[in-house]
Amino acid sequence: MEAVADTKAGGSWILFGTIFVSMVLAIVSLPEFVPDELGYLRPEWVPLVLIYWIIALPQRIGIVAAWMVGLMMDVLMGSLLGQHAIAYILMAYVTYSLYQRLRMFAIWQQSLVVFAIVGLNQLINFWIENIAGVADWTLWYLLPSLMSALVWPWVFLLLRFLRRTFHVT
């Protein structure tokens, strides 16, 4: 009984830790010599980590967790409160309804789905910013989802390694 409790606690720690790291990666500033435009190449780390945990542990990380993470991201990014929250809820919903199929997919197939899901996330963020009048559409908006799809295999392998090593269930 006690062992079970232990792994549970350790598991929460891993979940919290990976999401924390993804938030840091999302806002960490690039060195000064890097041109600003390269900022568009930043993958959407937080959605990637959320997607992984929803696929792996849908009973623990779901829509509510995504919503809370989204609110934190709104504060960190200085966007309208609720903007990332909505995007993450929808993203979590889509992932949640697909998780059984996604588990069967090969990693490159998952990458394609990740491209679509993160693209949806970008689109919702853009819609809200556009309605609020702070953004104009450029194709640059889709670049982060492409980058996310490209780094997905590594994120997936790393998180699966962490999950198996620390027995996160």
Partner: protein, 275 residues
């Protein structure tokens, strides 16, 4: 799920149309502070390593360099103090309310908005230090921007180069009043609605005009870099280079103008926001 989505939508709408959520945001910001701090670690430690690795000699020469610069600046400040008091006396004689007496506190950048479309930075001073929404921010060279959100330990600053930001300026040479709008590029401001016949040239210094009551009067904003007259356009195309090192300054100054400081003191305990 629909419930949460609805809550978020309402939140977004309320946040967009009113300032009611500033307290909620400030509260959540406190929770988010660790993330900001960890995200700042790489650049902070890079500077730390640079300090450790620099040799004794170079440190020494740097110290003497800084000392001589300090001496020069001190001399200049003394002169400034004399001039300021004389200026205030003269303004008193004229019965003018504008006084050249601004207080500043030094803040440090701890974060830059990762979205290249927004020019926002995060500084390490918050409501605890009396920072309020709308407060102007300077660096050693000129006007940088204004505070748009505060929490207890941090504040978010919109830079003058953001494409949603405009600042009222005047040409120092001819006193022509204009609006300088950000363009989304850190090295360019666009001057709006400049008559083709307006007295403005390349090299003119733009200073803040203080109209609108948000920015203090007389701080350098930029230098005109391009003036182009086109016969098929109603206005001239005028662009300026910001004086402040918007993408390089790490130490910045928060300005407390006289009325603001008093207002801030009165509003202490609340978030001290000013219109």
């Amino acid at each position: 799920m629909l419930g949460l989505a609805a809550v978020s939508l309402v939140l977004t709408a309320v946040d967009h149309f009113s300032g009611l959520l500033e307290e909620v945001r400030a509260g959540l910001s406190v929770v988010a502070t660790p993330v900001v701090m960890v995200a700042d670690l790489p650049s902070r430690s890079a500077r730390g390593i640079g300090d450790v690795l620099s040799s004794r000699d170079s440190m020494r020469s740097r110290i003497s360099e800084l000392e001589s610069e300090l001496l020069m600046l001190r001399a200049r400040t003394e002169k400034m103090a004399a001039l300021t008091s004389e200026n205030n006396r003269l303004r008193d004689l004229l019965g003018s309310a504008a006084k050249l007496q601004d207080n500043v506190i030094v803040a440090e950048l701890v974060g830059v908005d990762p979205d290249p479309d927004r020019h926002e930075v995060i500084i390490d001073k918050g409501t605890r230090d009396g920072v309020f929404v709308g407060q102007p921010l300077l660096d050693a060279q000129g006007l940088m921007g204004q505070v748009i959100a505060t929490s207890r330990y941090n504040a978010r600053v919109l830079l003058i180069s953001d494409h949603t930001h405009s600042v009222p300026v005047q040409v120092a040479r001819s006193n022509l009043r204009l609006i300088a709008q950000g363009t989304g590029a850190t090295n360019r401001l666009r001057l709006m609605h400049v008559q083709n016949t307006a007295d403005i040239r390349v090299g003119d210094l733009l200073i803040s005009s203080g109209l609108g009551g948000r920015f203090p009067v007389g701080y350098p904003v930029g230098v005109v870099e391009r003036v182009e007259h086109k016969s098929d356009r109603p206005f001239a195309i005028v662009e300026a280079m910001p004086s402040a090192l918007l993408d390089r300054s790490r130490h910045v100054l928060l300005v407390f103008t006289e009325e603001r400081r008093l207002a801030g003191r009165r509003g202490e305990g609340s978030d001290g926001s000013g219109g």
